[in-house]
């Protein structure tokens, strides 16, 4: 228990150097590293593939390659039943995703959990449970779009 705890503490310290808001926000590591899926795939409920619209990256994107901008990421989630909304607050009967961006370049996406907290895949590293603000900053930019869909709309 001690060793595992130390390891987690060490990982959290490393994360804090990249995501300084962690020091004043909630974040918990919830999975081991896995480069088989990325943040977009995780938000979309796919843990087998990496998603990205760029033709150069050669990854999966619903509807085929597209520009790598917030509009394209929004459209991808619209194909999954999401529509843009104004609030990142927990709303009964809805599930939400939040797109982080630097200007118009999308850098990350998180999915809301039933508790109101959020879940994210950090690049090729771990999944984490966090508050929305915990990941804002130099690495991922800031939340620029929030989308929601009726719970169960994915058909899962």
């Amino acid at each position: 228990m001690g060793e595992m705890g130390d390891e987690k503490e060490s990982r959290l310290s490393q994360l804090a150097t990249r995501f300084p808001n962690i020091s004043r926000s909630y974040l918990r590591i919830t999975s081991p590293d896995d480069h088989g899926y990325n943040c977009v795939a995780w938000a979309a409920g796919d843990t087998r593939r990496c998603w990205h619209p760029s033709a150069f990256g050669g990854l999966f994107w619903p509807g085929g390659t597209a520009a790598d901008d917030v509009d394209a990421w929004t459209r991808a989630f619209e194909t999954l039943g999401y529509t843009p909304c104004d609030s990142a607050e927990l709303e009964s009967g809805f599930e939400k995703v939040a797109i982080y961006a630097d200007g118009d370049l999308p850098l990350h996406v998180a999915r809301q959990l039933p508790t109101g907290r959020w879940t994210s895949k950090l690049g090729p590293r771990e999944d984490v449970e966090h508050e929305l603000d915990a990941l804002a900053g130099r690495e991922y930019g800031r939340v620029t779009a929030v989308l929601r869909r009726t719970k169960g709309a994915s058909g899962e």
């Binding site: 990249r18 990205h52 370049l105």
Partner: protein, 141 residues
């Protein structure tokens, strides 16, 4: 007393017995340079493999948590690896096979090819295998 640490250093004096002070300085400088060459990144920069390894370490350290393939590929070290051109391909393919790091952008940029079948897009292990197969056919692996 001449005030020089090097010349007053008993260890240094012992290793250059029989040489004049000036010759000792030259000899020690030569040995320091040789050690610097063999033990530091200076030698790494001198070969394509060394340059690739140094740039790859820099790139992976900086993009460890990046989610955006665009940001990952725009990192200056990644761009410099692309700038190495076909000379980088054997090193990229070897690292791809070992680590499945996101080299697809660089491979596509350098070769202009994409051997990954459409149905395998996004499956990192399948994509890596497709590129390694491509490299094997081209005698790059």
């Amino acid at each position: 007393m001449n005030g020089s640490f090097w010349l007053d250093n008993p260890q240094g004096r012992a290793s250059t017995t029989g040489l004049s002070d000036a010759a000792s300085i030259v000899d020690r400088s030569r040995r320091t340079a040789a050690r610097h060459w063999s033990e530091t990144i200076t030698s790494e920069r001198a070969t394509p493999r060394g340059r690739f390894q140094q740039l790859t370490r820099w790139w992976k350290r900086d993009t460890e948590y990046q989610s955006s393939p665009t940001r990952i590929a725009m990192h200056p070290a990644y761009q410099r690896i692309i700038g190495m051109g076909p000379a980088a391909l054997p090193f990229i393919l070897k690292d791809l096979e070992a680590t499945q790091a996101p080299w697809f952008w660089a491979l596509h940029a350098i070769t202009g090819e994409d051997p990954v079948p459409a149905e395998d897009r996004g499956y990192i292990d399948r994509m890596a295998r497709a590129w390694v197969r491509w490299g094997t056919k081209k005698n790059l692996v």
